[in-house]
């Protein structure tokens, strides 16, 4: 079976925020793609990283572990993490794992970005 496809596109929004559009799967195999997106956002000087999960097709425990690694890097660099576009199912998984306490979850992109601006 082919490796699951994951693409991540980084959009800079204003001076300090970056939205990472995730499309496909979030698994351990996605780590190089996510870390590359992180580095791009970091180079652009983003202090708030917003993960867009609208295009998420599948996430497993390996993907959750990868998000923890992502969170550790962001914490180390004093960057805030936010997310939007999670389905109810994955939102519940964020709650179970308590990722929602470290990654603020919003209903949509506008809320995620306007909260950053306030």
């Amino acid at each position: 079976m082919a490796e699951p496809a994951t693409t991540m596109h980084v959009r800079q929004v204003g001076d300090r925020a970056a939205v990472i559009d995730i499309k496909g799967d979030v698994t351990a195999a996605s780590e190089p793609v996510l870390m590359s997106a992180y580095e791009q956002a970091d180079r652009q000087g983003a202090t708030r990283l917003v993960l867009n999960f609208r295009g998420l097709e599948y996430m497993n425990s390996g993907g959750i572990g990868m998000l923890v690694t992502f969170l550790i890097r962001a914490n180390r660099n004093r960057q805030e993490l936010a997310a939007f576009g999670l389905s109810d199912h994955y939102r519940e998984i964020f709650e179970l794992t308590r990722l929602d306490e470290a990654i603020t979850i919003y209903d949509d992109e506008r809320s995620a970005l306007s909260d950053a601006a306030s």
Binding site: N60, S61, R98, A102
Partner: protein, 160 residues
Amino acid sequence: MTSVARPAPRRLASFALPSVPGNERIALARVAETVGGLGLSPARLDKLKTAVAEATMNAIEHGNDSRAELPVRVEVFQSGAEVIVTITDRGGRSHDGVPENRAEVPDLDRKLDGEQSSGGWGLFLIRHMVDAVDITTRGGRHTVRLMMRIGSRDTRRGED
């Protein structure tokens, strides 16, 4: 004392998959297709799919060491108002270390402090996704049995 006869479990599907990472997606799709008409709500079906995927991934990677020639067997049963899915591997090296019932519970704070690795969420997810989990190792076979009640509601998701 009176006893209530339980109907014999009815096998709905049985299939084997090569132990190739990624094949858990096939397992979850086939289980979802099999139980599709049994009355599980969409929210609970999502949970069962996640549990099946995680258990199959563990079987592939830890039970069968990702050796493609070793099959992971998946069986789906209906027993009264319960859906039961069993995932069986050969019980290889990774099951021989720390038993699952004594595996460390993942703790996000400890992970962020570097006291735990960032992974280790699989069994935690399985246990929270289904109504009951039973893990047995017998005769060189390691089986995870997942049970989901049909007709139960998921109050967290506001189902009524």
